[in-house]
Structures are given as C-alpha cells and as structure tokens.
C-alpha cells in the first residue's frame, strides 16, 4: 500500500486498490447470488434446490464457475468476429465501473463524484450496446430478435427510471450518492416518495431484463436470447454481468429510498448489504411468482403508465419543494 502510494500518488493507489476490491466483491457476490437465486426458486417451488454439493449446495456455483472455465469456447463460422469477442467484455466493464461511486458505508466509497448517479445510469445504458453487439454479431436470428427486444425494452424503461430518480434528487439538490444518503438522516425517502420507490423497483426489474420482463431471453420463443451462441466463460460473463447489474440497481434503490448505510447498532456496511440483499430477494420473488408479460403489454406499460406516473410524481415533488 505504502509502496503503491509513493509510486502512483494517493488517488491512483486508492483507485487501484478499490478496483481490486470491486473485482473480488463482484465475483463473490455473483457466486452468492446465483446460489441464492437457485435456493429461492427451489423453495418457492417446494423443492430443496442444490443440496449435495457442499452444505446445502453452498459450493454449487463454484463448481459451475470452474466448469464454465473449462468449457470449450465455440466461435461459430459466420459470426462478426471482433464484435462477437468484444461483447462480453463490453457488458462487464461498465458494470464494474459503476461500483466506483457507490457508498458502501460512510467511509467506504472509492470516489465520491458530484455526478455519481449520472455516472451509474450512463454506464448502465452501455449494457444495451453490449447486448445489441452480442445479438448482432452472433449472426443468429434468435440472438438478433432477443437483442432488438432488449433494446426496445431498456430504452423504454430507462426514461421512467431516470425521471423517478429525479424526485429524490430534487429533494436533496445533489447528484452525489453520498449527499443523498446524508440527506436521509431523519427519515428514509421511501416514506416521502413511496410512488417513486414502486416505480423504481418496476423499472429496475425491467432494466435488468428479469422476469416478468425477461423477454430478451424468453426461452420458449428465443432459445436463450442474445447469448444463444455464446458458450463457456463468455456466457459466464453475461451471467456475471446480469447478477452484478441486479446488485447495482438494488444498491441504488437502497441509497435513494432506504437510507443507504444508515441503521442502528451494526456498522454501516452491514446495513447496506442487508438492505441490498433484501431488495434482491424481492426481485427474485418477482421472478419466480409472476408469469412473463407479452411484448406489447410491456411497452404499453412503460409508455402509457410508468412515464406519466413518473412525470406526475416529479411535478408534485417540485411543487411541494417550491411551496415549502
């Protein structure tokens, strides 16, 4: 640490250490989340889920990951090679960078930027590009269809997502995530912005392409959607990105509506993780209890219901802020 600091300067050293920590967190988190997803799914369907590989299947996902690394990487003949190889990297990098601005506790934040929210949302929209790249480059009709659906869906749901987040931002008057947590000293924003919270959760489910909005990979119609042609660890990266994205949207929900790392007794980081995993559990609950929606329902829902509601919420918030 000392050596690094001397060589690179304090700020860069902090970034390097932070990035390494993030990569560790992302991998462990994804391993844990996939296990959790399988257990939650299993128990909702009245079956035990992974049981035999480790205690209650605890090392199941480790086995899966090792296996995926040992699998053959297939490059089909007619793919667009550079784009095909680039897509899994493009989907994973922005996800990684989003962690830079997330305040895990009062002190545990790599870089508090005054445009933190915008940074995360901008990186989140890069995911669409990666999905489009993957779908297009695979030269497979199911992949292209999955990618197109995903783009239509993500573009539609990004608008209400941004607008709903604007309401708490308006109340705080800052884009910095640390400021937003600091502003929830007395009460959580979920109490003053319940509608925004619900809208955000709906949009976040759609943004991460999870059921009931998982049309991009609806397996009964599109095989596996945009990653149909990917095998081995390339497919693993898509998986990893999906679960990390879940973590990020839940972290945002925690920061914006549930008071971030605030909580009694335990240190901040624990409260943060507890809240994040509670929201992730909610998302999983959705996935295993709701049937998949139709595509026209999906888009209509975004444009006709979510966006007007988000605007109304923003207007009312602005009005109240003005009159107070």
């Amino acid at each position: 640490m000392e050596f690094l600091t001397q060589m690179l300067g304090a700020d860069v050293a902090r970034m390097v250490v932070g990035l390494i920590a993030i990569i560790a967190l992302v991998s462990v988190n994804a391993l844990f989340l996939i296990w959790m997803e399988r257990k939650v799914a299993a128990h909702m369907q009245l079956r035990p889920g992974p049981m035999e590989v480790g205690w209650h299947g605890a090392v199941q996902t480790v086995a899966d990951a090792v296996k995926l690394m040992g699998k053959e990487l297939i490059t089909p003949t007619d793919v667009d090679r550079p784009v095909y190889h680039l897509a899994p990297i493009v989907i994973f990098l922005p996800v990684l960078l989003s962690f830079l601005v997330i305040p895990f506790s009062q002190t545990l934040i790599i870089r508090d930027m005054n445009v933190g929210v915008l940074l995360i949302l901008a990186f989140a929209s890069l995911t669409v590009l990666a999905i489009l790249m993957a779908g297009w480059a695979s030269n497979n009709k199911y992949s292209v269809l999955g990618a197109i659906r995903s783009v239509a869906q993500t573009v539609a749901y990004e608008i209400p997502l941004l607008i709903t987040l604007m309401s708490p931002i308006l109340m705080v008057g800052s884009f910095s995530l640390a400021d937003i947590v600091a502003a929830q000293e007395r009460y959580w924003f979920v109490l003053t912005q319940p509608l925004a919270f619900i809208l955000y959760i709906v949009c976040a489910t759609a943004e991460t392409n999870r059921a009931p909005f998982d049309l991009p990979e609806a397996e009964s119609e599109l095989v596996a959607g945009f990653h149909t042609e990917y095998s081995g660890m390339k497919f693993g990266l898509f998986f990893l990105a999906e679960y990390t994205n879940m973590f990020i949207v839940s972290a945002l929900a925690t920061i914006f509506f549930l008071g971030g790392w605030r909580g009694p007794f335990l240190p901040g980081i624990f409260w943060f993780l507890i809240k994040v995993y509670a929201i992730i559990f909610l998302l999983m609950w959705f996935r295993w209890t709701f049937p998949r929606v139709r595509f026209d329902q999906l888009i209509t829902f975004a444009w006709k219901i979510l966006i007007p509601l988000a605007f109304a919420n923003l207007l009312i918030t602005a009005l109240i802020m003005k009159l107070r």
């Binding site: 009245l46 079956r47 035999e52 086995a63 090792v66 296996k67 040992g70 699998k71 042609e229 095998s231």
Partner: protein, 166 residues
C-alpha cells in the same frame, strides 16, 4: 511411441481432477425431449424428484451452454439429423444419457423392416449411460446422473441418495 487408447499422453493430475469434479457436479442438461420419456425427465426436474439437488437442474435452452444431452424418447428418422446437429453444437466436454428403451434400441416401435425410427441413439451419437425402462422412473434418471458423475470423476460413488421430504 506406444499409447494406450483413452490414456492421455500428458496428464495434468490435480487440475484435471479438480475440473472433473466441477464438471461432474454441474451437469447442465439441455431442454430437449423427444417423446413420452421426456415427461419423466420433466418430472425428475420438478419438485418431487428435483435434479437440482445434484446440480443438474439448470436446463439450458441453448446447446452451446449445456453439458448433458438427455435423449428422452423415440428418435424418428426425421429427428435423427437434428439430434446429431444438436449434439455437434454442444461445447465439449459433453455427455449423453439415453433415457428409455426407445433411445436404447427402438423400444416398442422396433420390428424387422420398420422404416420410421432409428433404433438406438448410439447408432448416431456416442452414448455414456443407458437407462432402461418404458418409461424409466425419475429415480432411474437420477441414478444415471450419479453413474455419469462416477464415470466423469473416475472415483467411486461420491454420494448416496438422501431422504428428502417431498
């Protein structure tokens, strides 16, 4: 240089064993059924028998992402070529379980001079484990997965069935 068949020239020892252990414990089957035996395969994946206990419950729809092809049912002449194609699309290492009499030898549909079915999956693709029965019970499929694990790790039985309240 003389080389016994099946013995690799260079052995990576521990690494191979670790990989094999991981592979044996995460056999993702393909969402792929041909006839009535597929119903038993679905039953094996559902709540009562739950293949997911052994890490084999992640049914992947894309052949690129699965390790295990369960040939569950009658292979008609028309289905033969797609079956081979699906097998070829799977990423190595890959394994095949022939589930039911039809996939083993044509089952009740086989008679001399018949023209409609391929009597046995092993005529067109390599099969690792055969599960007899018409249809085999889901326990049969679970057992075949355990046998396949044995085959992959080249060790004795790693685990036994446990009583799971269903």
């Amino acid at each position: 240089m003389e080389k016994k068949t099946g013995e690799p020239l260079i052995s990576f020892g521990l690494l191979t064993e670790a990989l094999n252990l991981a592979r044996a414990n995460s056999l993702w089957p393909m969402t792929f059924g041909l006839a009535c035996c597929a119903i038993e395969m679905m039953a094996a994946g559902m709540a009562r028998f739950d293949m997911d206990r052994f890490g084999a419950g992640v049914f992947r729809p894309s052949p690129r992402q699965c390790d295990l092809m369960i040939v569950a049912g009658t292979i008609s002449k028309k289905m033969g070529p797609p079956l081979v194609r699906l097998y070829e699309q799977m990423a190595a290492p890959k394994w095949v379980i022939a589930l039911g009499n039809c996939a083993i030898s044509g089952g009740p549909f086989y008679y001399p001079d018949q023209y409609a079915i391929i009597p046995g999956a092993d005529l067109i693709i390599p099969v690792d484990v055969y599960v007899p029965g018409c249809p085999p019970r889901p326990e049969g499929l679970l057992e075949s997965i355990l046998v396949l694990e044995e085959k992959i790790t080249k060790r004795g039985r790693l685990r036994k069935f446990r009583n799971v309240k269903g």
